[in-house]
Structures are given as C-alpha cells and as structure tokens.
C-alpha cells in the first residue's frame, strides 16, 4: 500500500495546500504556546501561567524563618566605574561577600552562593546576554539609579513589599524605586556616601571650608578632584549653585541671582584648577591611584573605596565630610545600593533570593555589615550607626544627611542621561581653559534643558 502522491491529492482535493499551510501554522502556534506555558514570558505585559505564579510569589520577601531552602544561588554585584579592581580588591570583595553569605548559610546551610561581578559601564549588554541565555543572576546588587531601567528593559522582576517590610526604610529611599503600578524595582540595601579621604601625615584635620582648602593647598596640601559631574557636584552646593542646576534641568528660566550663582561655581572651579597644587582629573580612578601612590594628600572619594585605601594607608587615612562654602553646605551625591531580582531564576532560586533580601535588611545584619567594613551605611532606619565610636561613620552619616539635598537632582537624572555627558564635557573644557566661566554658564543653560524624549527618573 503506497501513500497518495501530492499531485493526486491536489487533483482530488484542491484545498489541500491552503489546509496544509493552515495546519502548519496551527502546529507552530501550538508549539509556541506550549513552550510559553512551560517557561515564562519575555513580555511582562502579557504574563504566562509561570509569570503569574511567579508574580504572586514576589508578594513580600521570604521570611528568614521560612521553610528549608537548598540549591545554588547566583548573586551579581555591579562594580562602580571608579571602583578599583585588581587581584587584591577582588579577594577583599569576595571576603566581604563571604562574611555575609556565611551568616546566611548558618540559617540555610544547604544553599551555595556564587558571586558574579558586573561592571557598571557594560552592565546592560552583559545582563541582556545572560538573561537571554537563562544564566542571569538571581539577585543583583546595583545602583539604585539603574534599578528602574533594568525593570523597564525586562532584565529584572519587580517586587511588592508588605507594609511591615516597607516600614523599615525611609520613605524617600523607597520612592525612587517605586514603579507606576506601586511595586518596587528593587529592595534598598545600603548607602555609600561621598566623603573626603585625606592623608593624616600631611594634614591633621580636613579643611572645613573651601577657603581653608585653598589656603591649605597654597601651603603645600596636594588636592585631587574629579571633574565627573556626580563626583564634583558637592562643590555646587557649597557655592550655592545646586538650585541653579536643578532649575535649568527642570526647564525654568534662571533669575539673575541664580545665574550669578552658577557663574560663581564655574569661576571657582576654574580658579581652583589654576592653583599649583590642585589637580582636577577627568577620571576618578586616576585620582584614587595617585592618592594611593602618595602623589595626592586630599581627595573626594566614595566610601566604597575606603577599605582599599585603608589597607594601603592604615591609620594615616582620614575620612571627613566635604568642606562647606559661601553658598552653604556641600551637596555630595550618595550612592544607594539596591537588590534587584533577576529574571532567570528557578522557583527555588527565587525563594533563596527573597530569603537573602529579607536577611540582608534584617537590623542585625545591617549593623553587622556597617561595623564590619566602616565604609557603608545601613538603609534600615532602625539601625543607628555607632557614630560616637567611629569618626569615619560620623563622617559617612553627616555626608548622607547632606546628600538629601541632592534628591531633586537625582529625580531629574537617569544613568546615561545625555545631559550628564554635556555637563561633563563643559566642565572639562572649563578646567582646561578652553571655555571661560561665562561661556560655560551659557553652555550649561543651553545643554541642560529637559529633553522631551527622556522619561522621568522615577
């Protein structure tokens, strides 16, 4: 018995071809649906069954005393652009993470924690490739500024914390992570404030004002500053220009007084760069390197680098708040670290990630991380840092308080905002004398106007 040929089939049944095509389409569509049902959706707007189950499971964090968990859990850590990365710092970082994971494993001994490092400059393409392969981290420690972007790009899951869990944080810390549907793009973990690091063997105490700083520089103190807008923004507050920048970014027309303050800030930057012992760098990494190698005595730095600097300088390392100026207090930008949930996790790994998040914001662990490194601040508002016993923590807390004034700016900016690039370029041209303060003022007013295509920072 032989099968009928295609020609005979068409002769006896003319609709065979369209029916075959239709059958193929139905089979392909059924396969796609089956694969979608078995897995999960790429598009969060049309969740499949797994996604719905998973979304339900993200209601609240896993209680620490929850059921026993087991398996391998992947934790990603995003390194900042100015973070020194070498064999020594890599070993230190692993040691610090180990201390956290060891504590976690006392509760969940069957959990193995693997650490993946990401670099902030290449985070998006790296994470996209990993998620596309199903190899993304279960929990990512990233900057709070980028958490919303990761969710918008489909690279992370949102989380809805219970009211009781939310009470542990300052409302401001959560609001920046809140999505339009009320969920959160991440869970706050810690703060890395921006401070002054100085060499105690060269100067006993850090200058309290910008005037004293320039005076100390003229007497031999070697000062290093980065022209990076995020790193240099503290001087804008000290010289009263922070409000001018915010207003320009909001699209408002500057009053003569605000314009004058902006001009005053830029003039100070240019005159400071002309000082013999004040060096303004384009790259913060170079500032740290020169400080480590005793070519600088006083720099602005993120508290994340304090362990590295302390290992090299020992007790000679001094940590202080930024100097104030004629415009008032400085406005350092503090970095908030948040925990972002990955999209590649298995159900068990997701539960471990939630358990880890819950564990990390536990007051006991927050305090332990703070006094274990003296380089970060807890986000849990029920954990007061022991400032009376540590001048470093005192400086961090004070700097964190000052950084509250930068929230209006952070609300307007997103990572990769072209206005940040424009600000950076204008400042570089200013400190190298290619632009006068007046020209730089005009350039900033022109370039920092809001751009309609950019979404809001929140």
């Amino acid at each position: 018995m032989s099968l009928p040929s295609w020609g005979r089939l068409r002769r006896h049944f003319p609709a065979a071809l369209p029916l075959a095509v239709l059958l193929l389409v139905i089979v392909a569509w059924s396969l796609r649906s089956a694969v979608q049902w078995l897995g999960r959706d790429a598009d969060p707007a049309t969740p499949g069954l797994r996604s719905q189950l998973r979304a339900t499971s993200l209601e609240g964090l896993e209680p620490v005393s929850g059921p026993q968990l087991r398996g391998t859990f992947y934790m990603g850590i995003v390194l900042d652009q100015d973070q020194i990365v070498n064999a020594q710092t890599y070993a230190d970082l692993n040691k610090r993470v180990d201390s956290l994971t060891q504590m976690f494993r006392t509760i969940y001994p069957d959990v193995t924690v693997q650490v993946q490092l990401f670099h902030s400059e290449t985070l998006i393409p790296q994470l996209t490739a990993r998620v596309r392969s199903g190899l993304g981290p279960d929990l990512l420690l990233a900057s709070g500024l980028i958490a919303g972007d990761l969710y918008a790009l489909g690279l992370s899951e949102s989380v809805l914390m219970t009211a009781q869990e939310q009470q542990q944080f300052n409302p401001g810390a959560l609001e920046r992570l809140r999505l339009p549907d009320g969920r959160l793009s991440g869970v706050p973990l810690l703060f890395h404030p921006e401070v002054i690091c100085f060499n105690r063997s060269k100067i006993k105490t850090s200058p309290a004002t910008l005037e004293e700083l320039l005076q100390a520089s003229s007497e031999g103190l070697r000062v290093g500053l980065s022209v990076n807008p995020i790193k240099i923004y503290w001087t804008a507050g000290a010289l009263g220009a922070d409000q001018s920048l915010v207003r320009v970014m909001q699209g408002e027309t500057l009053s003569p007084e605000l314009r004058q303050r902006l001009l005053g800030w830029l003039s100070w930057l240019q005159s400071a760069s002309l000082q013999q012992r004040v060096t303004i760098y384009a790259d913060q990494g170079q500032v740290l390197d020169d400080f480590l190698n005793d070519r600088l005595d006083w720099i602005s730095c993120s508290s994340i680098n304090i362990p590295t600097l302390r290992r090299k300088l020992g007790p000679r390392l001094g940590v202080a708040t930024m100097p104030s100026g004629p415009g008032g207090e400085p406005t350092p930008i503090s970095r908030e670290r948040v925990m972002v949930f990955g999209r590649s996790s298995s159900p068990d790994q997701r539960r471990i990630a939630k358990a880890m998040a819950s564990f990390s914001i536990n007051p006991l662990i927050q305090r332990s991380m703070t006094i274990g490194t003296f380089s970060l601040l807890p986000v849990n508002r029920f954990v007061p840092p022991p400032v009376s016993s540590s001048s470093t923590l005192r400086a961090l807390v004070e700097s964190q308080r000052q950084s509250n004034a930068t929230e209006p700016l952070l609300d307007l900016l997103r990572p990769g905002d072209p206005r940040l690039v424009a600000l950076d370029q204008t400042l570089v041209q200013l400190v190298f004398g290619a632009l006068s303060p007046e020209e730089a003022t005009e350039a900033l007013i022109r370039d920092l106007q809001p751009q309609p295509s950019l979404p809001s920072g929140r």
Binding site: A28, L31, R32, S33, V35, Q36, L38, G39, R40, D41, A42, D43, G71, T72, F73, Y74, V85, N86, A87, Y90, A91, N94, T112, Q114, Q116, L117, F118, A129, R130, V131, R132, S133, G134, L135, S344, S345, S346, D348, Q349
Partner: protein, 419 residues
C-alpha cells in the same frame, strides 16, 4: 586555587533552571541522534554527509522557536555556533589541503588551529557561565616573591605555547628571505630557520618572566636550581642541547647534510633540542641520534664544502684486450651517463693484473651523494653493454690445471713362441 574549584563547581547550579535544561536538551539530543544515525548509515556516504548540516538546521529551528516564544535561547545558540564552527574547521581543512602538503597541514591542524579553537571555545563557554575577567583575578599564590593571578598564568602559558608552536612558519619565511638575499645554501637556510625559532622561543620566555614580574633574584634562583639539576638528572639533556646549538653554528650537522653512518649515507632531516633525525635511503629508516654523538665522535660528511661525491666502479677485462682501448671505452661510457658529472671528468685506471683479468677502476663524480648506489648501478650496466658491443670479455675467474705424467717403466718385448 580552592576558589577556582568552587567557581567551577558553581557553574553546575545553572542546571537547576528549567530554561537551561531545555536549551541543553535542544542541542544535545539531536547531536546524540546524529551520532547514532551516523553509525548506522556509515555505508551510505552521501546521506551520512548530509546528516550534520541537517541536524544543525534542526537545532537552529528549535532555537528559532524558543526565540519566537520569548524563552531564553542564548546558551543553545552559543552551543550551536560552537558545533558549527567545529564543522567549519573540517571544511577549512579541505580547503587547506589544496594549498598545503599533507604533513604541514596536519601539523597546522593538530598543533595550532584545533588547539586554538578548543581553547577559545572553552574560554567563550566559561565567559557564558562566569566572567573571564573576574576569574583572571583569582590569586594562585606567591611564587618567587611575586603574587600571581590566574589570568597572568594563563596568558603566559598561551604565549609560550604560541611561541613554541607558532614560531615555525614565520621563522621559515624569514630564513627563506635570508636565502634569497644572501644566497646561502639549503643547509644554511634550515640552520637559520632553527636559530630564529630558538631566538623567538628565548624572547618568549624572557617576555613571560617579565610579564609575571619575576625579578632578577628570582630568575637567578631558578638558574641556581637548574644548575643543580643539570649536575644530576638532566646533564645529558643539556649536553645534547648545547651540542645541537654548537653543531648548528659549526654547520657540520645541519638539516640537509649527508653523513656516513655505519657505512651508509644518511641525510640529516632535523636537528632538535636533544637529537638529530637522519634518513637512511637504503631501507627508508629514520635514525634518532643524540646530538652529543656528533660532538664527541668522528663524522664523515659528503656535504662539508660541497655536495659532490666521487664514486667508483670496478671491472675486469681479459688479458688479450689492449688496456688503452679498455680505459678509453670506460671513460667514454661514464661520460655518456646523464647523472655522472662531466666535470671533473670521469677517469679510468688500471689497478693491476689479477689472476683472471686485468683489473680496472672507473672513477666519476656525482651531484647528490644519496644517489651513489643507483648511479653506480647505471654505470655498471652501461659498462657491460659497452664491453659487449666492443667484444671485450669480462672473464670468469680462470685456473690452469697442468697434469704432470709419471715416467714409463722399461718394456720387455714378449718372447717369441717356439718357432
């Protein structure tokens, strides 16, 4: 090092994810099926050849379906690319087979292309599962006072391997250039090539020491350790290495030279770090002789100052033929041979008077000492034909036996009968 092991073990945790399992199955199952079908259809080559491309296409379709359904597919795509690239290497080999002789092609494939592909593929796979840049920062301890990390060690090993394996073709090209520019002979070209290779390897070792940050004190410590080692275990190895270098400079045992070993001419094929490899024409054997043998014993070479060899055949002619006629005939016969050099001219000599014949020697020069036996054979045959045509006898050994008769007794005539 423990950290590295932990990292590697951690990669297996991805298998807990359903999406990873699905991608692996999508790639592994069809390849397994391909393996089984190939064994069954081995006798049907056209079909067997089509199986792999069809399987890869099938996996590609599966990946397309995963992508269409919005599921993770990157790992499967990566594995498909790896398998396709391996298949591409087979095609590349076919292409290279048209350009290169089998031996260099095999060396290129087995020592450079395929190992390089495997290393790159392993690195790319690790980069999928982890971060190479971060793994490179894992410390492997302090060596000779220098803190070494995994990246430095790996890079050093790769550079050393590339230098040792990959320096051959550039060295050969440079030596060829030298030959053309300086008009050196083939043996010198090979020596120059080998010296270039040693030079590149030495520079590579120095670079690696510098890259690792080994200071002079550490290098001296290594040298001290080596000297003790040389005194005991590796004396012979070092002796052979130094002998090899010396022989190269001296030029007596360079690749292409012809030496007389145990009564046979042998051509030097290569001069390695430990031993020289010689080819014996008589039985196509390769002799591996330690370098120091040439350094400490007498060596007969046919290619010291030139490659010519003086050969000789011997023949005998009957006593009745005029020696002048025979000598002239022998010289003319040798001159007629194409592989006998016209200059210096062939020379026939009367060696002596033998028992059966007058013995002659025909001496002539040839260009390649390795052809001695075959040319002698040709000359011998030509001599036989020439003697035959000229009616000159090559006598068998002759022995004249003279029988001496004993003296006859006095005969007494028989007595007459009674008459």
């Amino acid at each position: 090092m423990m950290h590295l092991v932990q990292e590697a073990l951690g990669w297996f945790g991805y298998l807990e994810r359903g999406s990873v399992q699905a991608q692996l199955l999508l790639v592994v199952l069809p390849l397994l099926g391909l393996h089984l079908l190939r064994r069954r259809w081995r006798s049907r080559p056209p079909l067997a050849h089509l199986l792999l491309p069809l399987t890869l296409a099938l996996i590609g379709l599966g990946i397309g379906l995963l992508a269409w359904a919005g599921q993770p597919y990157g790992l499967a795509l990566f594995l498909l690319q790896l398998r396709s690239a391996w298949y591409g290497l087979d095609l590349l080999q076919l292409l290279l087979a048209r350009l290169l002789p089998p031996a260099p092609l095999h060396q290129l494939q087995s020592r450079l292309i395929r190992p390089a592909f495997l290393v790159l593929a392993a690195m790319a796979l690790i980069n999928q599962l982890d971060s190479l840049a971060d793994l490179a920062l894992i410390s492997i301890g302090t060596w000779f006072g220098v803190q070494l990390d995994l990246g430095q060690l790996f890079l050093s090993l790769v550079i050393l391997y590339l230098v040792v394996v990959g320096s051959g073709p550039p060295a050969a090209a440079l030596a060829l250039l030298f030959k053309q520019v300086l008009d050196i002979d083939e043996g010198s070209r090979r020596a120059v090539q080998l010296l270039f290779r040693y030079l590149v390897v030495a520079l590579g070792v120095v670079w690696v020491c510098s890259h690792l940050g080994l200071n002079a004190t550490a290098i001296l410590a290594i040298a001290g350790g080596l000297s003790v080692g040389l005194g005991f275990g590796i004396k012979e190895v070092f002796s052979n290495f130094v002998s090899g270098l010396w022989l190269l400079f001296e030029g007596s045992v360079r690749p292409g030279e012809v030496l007389f070993i145990d009564g046979d001419p042998c051509e030097v094929r290569s001069l390695g770090l430990r031993a020289a490899v010689l080819w014996r024409d008589r039985d196509n054997a390769e002799l591996v002789i330690p370098n120091q043998t040439f350094f400490t014993s007498t060596t007969t070479t046919y290619t010291g100052s030139d490659r010519m060899r003086r050969s000789q055949v011997s023949v005998g002619a009957a006593y009745r033929h005029d020696p002048e006629q025979v000598v002239a005939l022998l010289e003319a016969t040798a001159r007629a041979q194409t592989r006998v050099l016209p200059f210096p001219p062939p020379k026939a000599l009367v060696l002596g008077y033998g028992e059966s014949s007058i013995n002659y020697a025909l001496r002539f020069w040839i260009a390649n000492p390795m052809d001695n036996v075959s040319i002698c054979s040709e000359v011998n045959m030509a001599v036989w034909k020439a003697f035959d045509a000229a009616g000159i006898e090559i006598p068998f050994p002759q022995m004249v036996v003279k029988t001496i008769e004993p003296a006859s007794p006095v005969s007494v005539p028989p007595s007459a009968p009674d008459q």
